[in-house]
């Protein structure tokens, strides 16, 4: 049996496998070091960071929905400076590949945060969060306008040589056109999807379940929409795609990859099963062996649309 190659490259970021922990679903990574060796993940994406510390929204911050959950955390975070001094050295010590999810209320803040992180030791890539649906000033104004997306990505491109990965919102008519804007602006990859703007109501109290009224929907419920968006973006751009949305097992990872994702992120599933990582790796290994695939990258975008799957195969 030849060695199995699961590696993925995004600019200078080389990952041993396509499995990344999604922003906001894995703390700063260190919270999970008891349950998984962080160096075995493709990468760890930090919680979204602004320049300054933020307290986020009041509780209630989450609500469960069918096969999904809403969140409106409001980007509680320690800010980029404390991240660099308190978390980054520990992440380096654990040999985690660290991707920092960056936010801004203005173009200048994005650029500033990117610049500061580019000078720090141990940051492997920047994921540009222009898609948080939960706070008005969280960059979504950039993520819902093609010019805004182009503008923020090209401004950050000028100040950093780190790989930059704009994270796209699904709450638009055509995510593929945003993927194109990001590629044109010099992005090394795109990641999608962030959460879907959604809400839930307690009908007995006639009040919203979240203090922020609306929040972002994640989890398996959204997977079929996210897979479609990845597939559409794959037709539109050449740069790597980091796919996510409701991945719960290795088949879901493969679904995103076959649709066109080069790597994937796992978010909500960490809450349900923090020991998921070993299972995902084992599942991918088994699939590669059964299908005699030596380079996992070979299945990226390999969807055969000439006929549907046989229902009774």
């Amino acid at each position: 049996m030849t060695a199995l190659d699961m590696s993925v490259r995004i600019g200078s970021l080389v990952m041993p496998n396509p499995l990344m922990a999604a922003s906001g679903c894995f703390g700063y990574g260190l919270e999970y070091e008891d349950v998984v060796d962080l160096s075995t993940l493709g990468g760890v994406v930090s919680k979204g960071l602004f320049l300054a510390e933020r307290q986020g929204h009041k509780p209630e911050r989450i609500a469960e929905t069918p096969a999904g959950m809403l969140n409106a955390i409001g980007l509680q975070g320690i800010g980029v400076h404390r991240f660099i001094s308190e978390k980054l050295p520990l992440l380096r010590a654990r040999r985690a590949r660290t991707i920092v999810n960056i936010c801004g209320t203005t173009l200048d803040e994005y650029v500033e945060v990117a610049r500061i992180l580019s000078d720090a030791e141990g940051v492997d890539a920047l994921e540009i969060n222009i898609s948080c649906p939960n706070i008005k000033e969280g960059g979504i104004q950039f993520g819902c306008s093609l010019d805004g997306t182009f503008g923020v990505v090209s401004a950050i491109r000028k100040v950093t040589s780190l790989p930059i990965i704009p994270k796209l919102t699904p709450n638009v008519t055509s995510p593929a056109s945003f993927a194109r804007a990001a590629e044109d602006a010099g992005a090394d990859a795109i990641s999608l999807v962030n959460t879907f703007l959604a809400m839930a109501i307690d009908v007995e109290q006639r009040k919203p379940k979240l203090s922020n009224v609306v929040g972002g929907l994640s989890g398996p419920a959204i997977r079929p929409i996210a897979v479609r968006m990845v597939w559409e973006c794959r037709q539109e751009v050449k740069i790597p795609i980091v796919g996510m949305g409701g991945i719960m097992d290795h088949r879901d990872v493969l679904e995103f990859m076959i649709a066109g994702a080069n790597a994937v992120q796992v978010g909500t599933a960490n809450f349900v099963d923090p020991f998921i990582w070993r299972k995902l790796l084992d599942g991918l290994t088994d699939y590669m062996q059964r299908h005699q695939i030596t380079r996992l990258a070979d299945i990226v975008g390999a969807l055969d649309t000439t006929s549907p799957a046989k229902a009774h195969a």
Binding site: G27, P66, I73, V272
Partner: protein, 287 residues
């Protein structure tokens, strides 16, 4: 019990915890105490062997995605066989919604996914007596705490309030351990009529000075706030176990935050799954 700092900001900065385990446990028994309360015993010895009083587990009754998230429950009892080996844990469950409803309905042989132990446990009192204050299902963490306190020969009292006499459970258990019981019911059907904070305040008044008892509280948030304020007023330390909506139990999601006054005078949201659920009552900012 190990000494820990329950009001710490991030677990990883201050102590090295025992890593939690996740087991697909089997239900051993399910005793319905009433229309809404049950004691569910599950074969999760790996979890029980590691659990300290006040810690919790995250449970799920299905591996399908609806319901999807686990729910937090205090470990009620750690059950040992005759040789002292841990065989199971139990949960004191109160029906509140879907998962608690499903837990109520389980039968022996059914599977339960159990992740734990999680969170910061109670601290033993530095000196003097221990007073436990429980409201309703807030009794849950006090069975194991009482055992630990009795083992340390700490004189222990349980102030325990419920709506009606039927909803006062496990009195014999505490009695047998030598725990002094002070009961209240809202309808006066047993013990003192009214809220549990009534007799608590009477007792606090009767104390000769500060730092003579450590007050441990678990129950609805208004009760916790009242207990923490009373303890402060009478100069006694308190530890409160906070109940927050939890998505993960491991510090991943930031759903479970409690506003806590920090040493620098700032109030910050602390994740109660890893910086709690047990907090120093004096540091919590009650809303």
């Amino acid at each position: 019990m190990t000494r820990t700092t329950p009001s710490g900001f991030c677990r990883h900065d201050i102590l090295s915890p025992v890593p939690p385990v996740d087991v697909r446990a089997t239900v051993i028994s399910n005793v319905r105490l009433s229309r809404d309360y049950n004691v569910l015993t599950i074969a999760a010895p790996e979890v029980g062997a590691l659990t300290e009083p006040g810690q919790f587990v995250m449970l799920k009754t299905t591996d399908a995605s609806d319901p999807m998230l686990r729910r937090p429950f205090s470990v009620f009892e750690v059950l040992r066989d005759d040789l002292g080996t841990v065989r199971a844990i139990s949960i004191l469950n109160k029906r509140a919604g879907r998962t608690t409803g499903l837990l109520y309905g389980l039968e022996a042989g059914d599977p339960v996914w159990c992740l734990g132990p999680l969170g910061l446990p109670f601290n033993p009192p530095s000196s003097g007596e221990a007073w436990m204050v429980a409201g309703g299902v807030g009794l849950a963490p006090f069975a194991t705490l009482a055992e630990a306190l009795v083992a340390l020969q700490v004189p222990t009292t349980l102030f325990y309030g419920a709506r009606t006499a039927d909803e006062l459970y496990y009195l014999e258990f505490f009695d047998r351990l030598g725990v002094k019981l002070v009961l209240t019911t809202e309808d006066g059907g047993a013990g003192v009529k009214g809220r549990v904070t009534g007799p608590l305040e009477e007792s606090l008044k009767g104390l000769g000075g500060p730092n003579l008892v450590t007050v441990y509280a678990c129950g609805p948030e208004p009760m916790l706030a009242a207990v923490a304020r009373l303890a402060e007023r009478y100069g006694q330390p308190s530890e409160v176990s906070m109940e927050r909506t939890m998505g993960c139990g491991l510090g991943g999601c930031y759903s479970c935050v409690v506003p806590v006054k920090h040493a620098d005078g700032q109030t910050r949201y602390v994740r109660s799954c890893i910086g709690g659920p047990v907090f120093d009552g004096a540091t919590v900012v009650w809303e």
